[in-house]
Symmetry: C2
């Protein structure tokens, strides 16, 4: 009826969205054992990677709005994985740190996440996997510049 309509499974957008959705389902299933969501693990991992980040710094790295971070931290603090500490050099900021329990949980969860990812990629050979990651990184990097220029 209408020509020039690319089938869904040849569209980059559809493929990226579908691949992400499926990986996310598996990661969430694996993390359920550890009572964590993929979203929470991402936040915990950013905190783990660089202690003393503020809430705004963390939100920028995750690409999540600072107002969304508030509720996530409330929950992670409630279950004892994270601590907010007033930054004494700038009392507007909170410095985020993992608790001992948080460190244990992140280590286990990171292993679970990496296992799921490896299993998800099992269909690809090593070279294809390396090139896939490199291509995605290139797209993210090139997009970064534009997005910042436009923002």
């Amino acid at each position: 009826m209408v020509d020039n309509v690319t089938p869904l499974d040849e569209r980059l957008g559809y493929l990226l969205k579908t691949a992400y959705a499926r990986l996310a389902l598996r990661v969430d299933a694996a993390l359920a054992t550890l009572a964590l969501t993929a979203r929470q693990l991402a936040l915990l991992s950013v905190i783990a990677s660089d202690e003393a980040l503020s809430q705004i710094e963390v939100s920028a790295r995750l690409g999540v709005d600072r107002t969304s971070i508030v509720a996530m931290l409330d929950e992670l603090e409630r279950i004892g994985l994270v601590e907010r500490r007033r930054d004494e050099r700038d009392r507007r900021r909170n410095t985020l740190a993992l608790t001992a329990s948080g460190r244990v949980r992140v280590t286990a969860a990171e292993k679970a996440r990496a296992d799921v990812e490896a299993d998800f990629l099992a269909r690809l050979d090593e070279d294809s996997t390396r090139r896939l990651v490199a291509a995605l990184q290139a797209l993210a990097a090139s997009s970064d510049r534009r997005d910042h220029a436009r923002a």
Copy 2:
């Protein structure tokens, strides 16, 4: 502090999500001129690719719940791009079809979407692009089997 924490930009999940989000932003920006969202275009394209699909068939192809399709069709019908027709052979079903205006709009929107995608991929050479798409298709295919087995 915690070792074995993979940086975000080496995680497949983060890369897929980020790449998709950025492409989606650009596609939506390009489609705004045509008063369409990427979501609407995906629905229109499925209808265009195979006339006489029912709402449930369309929802399955898109991976969108049938209840969500209802409101989307209401809007597309309201702006005159789509028609619901009772299937006379099974009066429970609606057969979906583009209007003449819908066909014109889809053709223009598909061109805009393809242009954005090509620009988004400009950083990659042809071989890398082909391999990226192939890898994503392989991941989608392998995941399909598992998801169906589990569902």
